[in-house]
């Protein structure tokens, strides 16, 4: 298999990504046609898509940084939930939104530290480590939850000057609250960091073949610790998004499976930042359409069937388009120094 030279068809970008290209083309046409006929609805659906995708892509980035360095994180749900809660409490008691978001991010990073401690230092089973975090977050937030607390305001949209005046694209992309912008930047930043920097190369090396990385002097433990904490911080931002930007209050179990869905998004995106972003947008779109259909009262279909749509589409896309996804080779395996 390795012996054959790659021929032109295999190296051509458009050929290799023909399914994606076709999908993007179809989506582009649908959006254009939609906008020409129903500008208001199209705008609403696209904005909602972006909103719904934000916590998912953040969660996926969290999972991605951990797994690229060889640590599975199924505790994203818990990291998001506790960060959402701490961010919310900070906002309630200080009224400072910047401080509140920072508190959320810090909470996520600390839970990342806990996960790294469990899986790197204690060499615990990583699935258990993540489960510990999930239950812990559920217990802590439930135990300290008080009814009737309200944040003092939430993050509001910031229009980016003339960019916001472009038809359709302007209001959808350039008139958003801060965390949404940060998310888009984080996707680009993660892509750059993972593929074009020394840190990214080291991370991937540690995730694929820690022994080899160790031999050339890379500190495997350190790389894993930092990446898992970085991921935790990103998940914390997702939590902050939920309470401080999207909803403005905290409810028990409000992450509602988003942390797990984010894992799906990450695998769907084949452990790449851009892929995860695309996957998150697709899932976000199904949510947005779902809301829109219910709003327009397409009444013949029971709402529960519409409710299954995002999940059904994820399964179908996964089964039809993605095929065998390959995780980093050392994913989930504790590294034992010789």
């Amino acid at each position: 298999m390795e012996a054959t030279l790659p021929d032109r068809a295999q190296t051509n970008f458009f050929y290799r990504h023909r399914l994606m290209v076709a999908l993007l083309a179809v989506i582009g046409i649908v959006i254009t046609v939609g906008y020409l006929n129903e500008p208001r609805i199209t705008r609403a659906v696209l904005s909602s898509t972006l909103r719904q995708s934000t916590p998912l892509v953040l969660g996926a980035l969290c999972g991605l940084w951990g797994e690229r360095s060889g640590v599975i994180n199924i505790g994203i749900e818990g990291q998001m939930l506790l960060a959402a809660f701490i961010g919310f409490l900070t906002s309630v008691y200080t009224g400072n939104l910047l401080l509140a978001v920072s508190a959320g991010v810090l909470t996520g990073a600390l839970l990342g530290l806990l996960l790294a401690f469990m899986s790197v230092t204690l060499k615990m089973d990583q699935i258990i480590g993540g489960t510990v975090i999930n239950i812990l977050a559920l217990g802590l937030t439930g135990y300290y939850y008080q009814q009737g607390l309200l944040t003092q305001g939430k993050l509001s949209p910031v229009a980016l000057g003339p960019l916001a005046d472009i038809p359709l694209i302007g209001p959808v992309l350039f008139n958003n609250p801060p965390i949404t912008y940060i998310t888009l930047l984080l996707v680009a930043f993660s892509h750059y960091l993972l593929w074009y920097t020394r840190w990214g190369l080291r991370t991937r090396a540690v995730g694929e073949h820690p022994r080899a990385a160790d031999t050339v002097g890379i500190n495997v433990y350190r790389v894993r610790y930092i990446n898992v904490m970085l991921g935790g911080a990103i998940a914390g931002l997702a939590g902050a998004f939920l309470t401080l930007e999207a909803v403005g209050s905290f409810e028990r179990g409000m992450t509602n499976g988003r942390g797990f869905l984010a894992l799906a998004v990450m695998i769907f995106g084949k452990w790449t930042p851009l892929g995860s972003w695309g996957a998150a947008l697709l899932v976000g779109l199904t949510y947005a359409l779902n809301t829109q259909f219910q709003f327009m009262g397409i009444a013949d279909i029971p709402p529960q069937f519409m409710g299954t749509l995002p999940y059904l589409i994820t399964i179908i896309v996964l089964a039809v388009f993605v095929g065998h996804a390959r995780p980093p080779a050392a994913d989930g395996i504790p590294y034992e120094k010789e």
């Binding site: 615990m124 799906a264 695998i267 029971p302 399964i315």
Partner: protein
Amino acid sequence: MSLGIRSWVASLRRVTASISLPLLSVVVALLIGAFVIVLGESSPVEAYRALFRGAFGSQAALQRTLEKGTPLIFSGLAVAFAFKGGLFNIGAQGQLLFGAMAAAIVGFSLTGLPALLHVPLALLAGAFAGFLYGAIPGALKRFRGAHEVITTIMLNYIAINITDYLASGPYMDRTPGNIVSRTPLVAESARIPVLGNIPLGFIIALLVGLFIWWLLARTTIGFEISTVGRSPHAAQYAGIRVTRIVVLTMALSGALAGLGGAVETLGVVGRYQPGFNIGLGFDGITVALLGKTHPLGVILSALLVGAMRAGAPQMQFSAKVRPDIVDMILALILFFVAADLVRRWLVARRGERLLLEEEIQLSTGWGQQA
């Protein structure tokens, strides 16, 4: 002969070690929980006394503990069984819902059957529903390469929606005055009785646990399942039909979860009502991990979790401590058991080098791709 005795003593020591270490973990977790309760300005002594009273203090309390523990035995077995086959079934929740719904449908739509026929029939319906719903992620994994962690999570949400639809549409309880979405009560002949103070469902759970242990430890199928779990490549090489085994493992795991839902419907709730079974499947993950995926360990840890869930309301009532503290304590127990901190500490004191036992490692990665 002396060798026989020595190995017998050794295995006895292993058994006591595998029970005493988790027990120590429980004690440490409770101590930390006590600290949290003190911070909340309640009395931990009072809280734990109430928790204990609520779980074991009376015949009724004991029955509640068994009732709470029973579905957890099933969902714990379901998750543990899949783990043995190298699969992570997060979908026990969805399979359990369909099991509960199927049992309810058979329970209320058939009438005039003797209980000896009706109950097994409804249980079978529940197990079969779980079996089918569990087979889907297994098949998707083998034929389309879709990872079971994702598909089972998605299938959970789909199951919640569909059972919700069934309970509020075609199978809704139409008795006058009812506006809640739920199915009618199952017929009396489909109810699983309580014998004395012991729910019969609990006995069924114990028997199923024994059966699973036997299946895994003593049969060819069990051997094939755990071989595939250790290495699908090696299994394939050894002539095991991996695809069949993977689908079967997921389906049987689903059947266990579905059976749990059925027992809950027929033994406790009496009907299907959306929201009543949420959490049982997810607790199954905790139970399976706590029991280190061994069927007997699963039974013990399910009873532990069941007792804490049963005692929590009493604790809230008499000591004003939120039941959510139970989740926190469970997380700590899981942490201490999994991290093996107690043993680490003992080993470090003796100045030995810690050998990582195989049993700590339940799953590596996202499961090996065959």
